[in-house]
Chain length 349, copies 2
């Protein structure tokens, strides 16, 4: 790609080699101004750590690795199953296959990278489930392994759009904001939010979207923000709390929570066939029971991940082939609100 090395980069910036390494592997150890200057230079120079190691490879295997995430409750996990279907299809259209592996933790996933790169000759990896303090991206950058993430980097000290690695994500906050706005437009002034405990990137983002819509309509959010563990029973409990605080409509961070809320709201208000309720992820369960939900464009995300990764791989084998426009390295896709009427109570089928 270029003759930039960690050493030449450090020299040209007048910083130590260690500083450049820290920016890649432990950005919190570097002062913000220095970090941003080094990150900018890295991106500009096209430098890829350990690119030399990559050149030992003589052929491409046309195979990406992806960790099969464990099944959680089968409802929320279905979004990753859908992504995997879409990824396999998009990869195959570009001539790539997808190899699955398992790991219990991020550290286990990194051990699998090491082993798979030894035994399975993969071209790169697709990451899912990015979160605060994710060590996987630093490891892959350091080892010069091509990869792309479904999920933005959630570290609060980095601008995700300045990140060193490519990612695609869905703008969950825009989804809950639209969901909340829709309920407000229907006349609700007390729209509650039923989400996960603070600290998860995606969860906080969805909460923030709800809060933005409420603020924009000058509606109070006090006591309308419930933090619950995910799941159907927690959703029922949370909906009961929100109802007791006067909420007349609920936006949820997941369809599991929304499903519990649906059952509880019908129990509390048997006269209301269709509680004002919106879930997240548009899972098969939501479609089956007629629950409105925010839908993630998993097919678009998968296609873009494959395009970015394929471009990266083509770039590393043909350094001067710049004819095709590069796909966006950082892309936030808008979700869609799917509006439905709960099925079980419809007067006709």
């Amino acid at each position: 790609m270029s003759k930039t090395t960690l050493v030449s980069l450090a020299e040209s910036l007048g910083v130590s080699r260690q500083t450049v390494s820290n920016v890649i592997n432990a950005p919190h150890r570097v002062k913000p101004e220095t970090r941003m200057r080094v990150q900018h230079a890295i991106v500009e120079s096209g430098y890829r750590p350990s690119a030399a190691a990559r050149q030992l490879r003589t052929r491409r295997s046309m195979n990406f690795g992806i960790r099969m995430m464990p099944v959680v409750d089968g409802i929320n996990g279905s979004i990753l199953d859908r992504f995997l279907h879409a990824l396999t299809e998009a990869a195959q259209e570009e001539g790539y296959r997808v190899t699955l592996f398992c790991a219990d933790t991020d550290a286990g996933e990194i051990r699998q990278y090491e082993e798979l790169l030894k035994v399975a000759d993969l071209d790169g990896f697709v990451l899912t489930g990015t979160h605060h303090g994710d060590h996987r991206t630093a490891w892959l950058l350091e080892h010069g392994i091509p990869f792309a993430a479904f999920g933005r980097p959630w570290s609060s000290i980095e601008d995700p759009f300045g990140s060193l690695h490519p990612w695609v994500d869905v703008d969950g906050g825009a989804g809950t904001e639209q969901a909340t706005r829709t309920l407000i437009e229907q006349g609700h002034t007390a729209v509650g939010f039923l989400g996960w405990p603070g600290g998860s990137g995606a969860g906080d983002d969805r909460r923030a979207g709800w809060a933005r819509a409420m603020r924009a309509a000058k509606l109070p959010t006090d006591s309308l923000d419930i933090q619950a563990d995910d799941g159907v029973p927690a959703g029922a409990q949370g909906a009961e709390q929100l109802a007791s605080k006067g909420a007349t409509a609920v936006v949820c961070a997941s369809d599991s929570l929304a499903l519990g809320a649906l059952a509880k709201l019908r129990q509390l208000h048997p006269e209301q066939a269709s509680p004002a309720l919106i879930g997240f992820d548009d899972t098969p369960v939501a479609a089956a029971v007629g629950l409105s939900s925010v839908s993630q464009p998993t097919e678009d995300a998968a296609r873009h991940i494959v395009a970015v990764l394929a471009h990266q791989l083509a770039g590393s084998s043909s350094p001067h082939g710049d004819e095709e426009p590069a796909p966006e390295r950082h892309l936030l896709l808008p979700p869609t609100l799917i509006q439905r009427t709960p099925y079980s109570f419809s007067s006709s089928t």
Copy 2:
């Protein structure tokens, strides 16, 4: 494994080479007595078609291929997603990974086998979705490619337990039989069956289980057997038909059908919070709405598939290593009936 060839096998049986080939590739062209005699000899001799071709391979890739089946309604398809999770885990425990590919048809799947064997150096394949007239197994046998199927061979002219290739399946008929018996024991005498149109192996098997339980209890089945396309709306329609014919309980071939039936039965009988209704596959939707359902042991099935395939691969590289007992080549696993009370109407959460 042995020096048996197609020619020596034909000679020892006093049949033509074409006859042996037909038994493998087009069994319907061979008279039943001859077919069974040849099948028996093939199994006994340990003959594997084109075994010589396999010996060209110098190393094992420790990688199985499996076709990613397309998403249908996201409810019934979830059983294959669950199987894929379990398969990836079971494979990894034995040192194998799983490579995914896509195909629209069986013929497309066979083209993928050809291509993957050229470019991806896979050790074998796992098949799902076996059905009447499945050409994939014949192709793999003919080409000597190790494989195992999740799903028995459904051809009506072959004894599945005499089949040339290993398979694991779940005894769906035993599941609907148990479901029906359970409803009869609860006092129902008119238990309807809501299943798919005749001709699908798995669907007919589930229908047969219901009919067995009804016959055993000397209950009439006339007009209580509804054939419907799969899906929630078809389930609602079918349940209405069954109710009009006096059915007081319903066993369904899928959770999609059961979910539609649940909505319709509640609409018809608002006083009944929990209609007598049992679905099939114990999908996340069933768990979420509290629907009773027949559960397939996907983890056991996946573990056994991996064991059979790993044994086959070890066998082909070390022909005399017979110390470990061979896993059953044909295994029908019993399902489990999961009994629940519909969630949405429970008086407390």
